[in-house]
Symmetry: C2
Amino acid sequence: MTEPGRLNGESNVRDVGEFALIEYLANQLPKRTGQHGVSIGIGDDAAVWQPSPGNSVVVTTDALVRDIHFRLGWTDWSSLGHKAIAVNISDIAAMGATPRLATIVLGLTGDERVGDLGRMYEGIGDIAGAFGVAVAGGDVVRTPHDLMLSVTLIGEVDPDQVVRRSGARPGDLVVVSGTLGASAAGLRLLESPRTAATADLLVAAHLRPVPRVALGQVMHEAGVTAAMDLSDGLLGDLRKILDASGVSAGIDIDRVPVLPAVRALFPDEWTELALRGGEDYELLMTIPHDRFDGLRDRAKVVGATVTPVGSITPTDGGPTLSVTRDGRELNAGDSAFDHFAGHPS
Amino acid sequence: MTEPGRLNGESNVRDVGEFALIEYLANQLPKRTGQHGVSIGIGDDAAVWQPSPGNSVVVTTDALVRDIHFRLGWTDWSSLGHKAIAVNISDIAAMGATPRLATIVLGLTGDERVGDLGRMYEGIGDIAGAFGVAVAGGDVVRTPHDLMLSVTLIGEVDPDQVVRRSGARPGDLVVVSGTLGASAAGLRLLESPRTAATADLLVAAHLRPVPRVALGQVMHEAGVTAAMDLSDGLLGDLRKILDASGVSAGIDIDRVPVLPAVRALFPDEWTELALRGGEDYELLMTIPHDRFDGLRDRAKVVGATVTPVGSITPTDGGPTLSVTRDGRELNAGDSAFDHFAGHPS
């Protein structure tokens, strides 16, 4: 065991003490105790946080596991830290809430280099700082084989402003923010590198997604009836809104916003990437037709685009999702991303 | 992929869909949405919870990893679920707070049997129900090798009732609840089974610890100045209070409460088990001498015993911890439980 003062970035985790490591990692983070109502951070049994009076607390949790959700040859450590926090902030954003507090469980084999974990915590600190999130504690545990980050993100929201998955109504537009498929295209480029001027942009979309917090916060006021973040692909995720709301929907592929770079690099696959690729961390929303212009204007103010891609329809014997291209209906099939059923990404 | 309706306990996780599995596991839990202010549970992007007006939110997180924190040959699945929640509730109890909400990340290799995970969730549901905790969501992820449960527990507390680690003052008594060493003794019995009438009791102390929530809630009113839960052993954990409070302490081994069964089965080791064994999940507290009787009376009301084991002393050049036995001072050494420094448990 190395004393905290002698810990350096070249050390392996197994050669340093657990508490020295936690102290080293905490030092990579911005100092946030006392901000955002966080009164006790890393170093007590639990973090203590005071939400604004009357607000509800919103909680989400998600984990990234080596060789399942990321590969160390494909991501730098800072981006890995960024993404672990970003995907959780995205869930908070999808509820219309403001992210405040994160706790992190780090599962380490002991073979990791301390300096790499430090860079990971720099990435965590950068995105946490950018979104006003305090990293308020966590746990470092040993794992026999699998490097793992498990993040819980806690936010707050006026209970009247919460946007759920269950509010979609027939006649609503189906709307997505940003563009779809860039993250999946970036993953393909990591799997099979190609020289392309746009490759870095697409890889960055995969490694360092930016959650749509500001857009999420205007959803309720803009009249959005249901929302979720796009982590598993448009078709799979929209089904969840349909199931929760008891409605059906039709999507027009020709209206789905896809970057020209994605279409150019993947001429035969861009539809698949955009509809099923997943990990876009854009917002999927439903909203009455007559409120869409207002949403578009509010989105513009916060630097986001929103695009209608289809409509909610009444259900007849269970939610269905139809997909049309060039006016012709396709068979959407079973589209949910499923880690255990062999989806490749 | 099996349809939800056809999922049965004999299936392996890899043969069922992620969403069917989540639905099956959620069905093992008591229905709690709508209770304790939890308005959205499993099935949306995030759980939503309304703490009582003015209360602070308390957050802790801890993970159990196969072959590090548990062995499947030594624990039944229900106990594994119990313990994963109990160790987190214990951290909430140590702050004087009330546990409310849990989220769970389950890392599965795919080889697990669905029925075993169902029993684990029954164990989770039983302890969650007993302590009024809503399991409000989580995530199921695949791991290449390591079965893992990562739990985040969220509670609430009147901010004036929070008991931190940093409040210990010279002259305070050092007090522990219950007895120490039973969990470590139980672990030894799992490692090397022996026939003994008390073996089941000790093994149960290891596998199914009961967090001291009710005692934690009376700590502030009783005058407790600092507290934490005993997860890493008395000596290691007390050092954390000393460091946080900037004080020293002396412990008298002869006063440490240890079950007769532990002394009888481990005549040469019971001191080690009691001082360094860890995983007792009792409360370690400091309190002024003249308040101890009041704490003892309040503890009795909630079914707990409290025992003074030493005193806080002024520090002179940094916190020190002295240990005496039969009036003679021992060398406490470096006693912190450290997962990376080769502690066997």
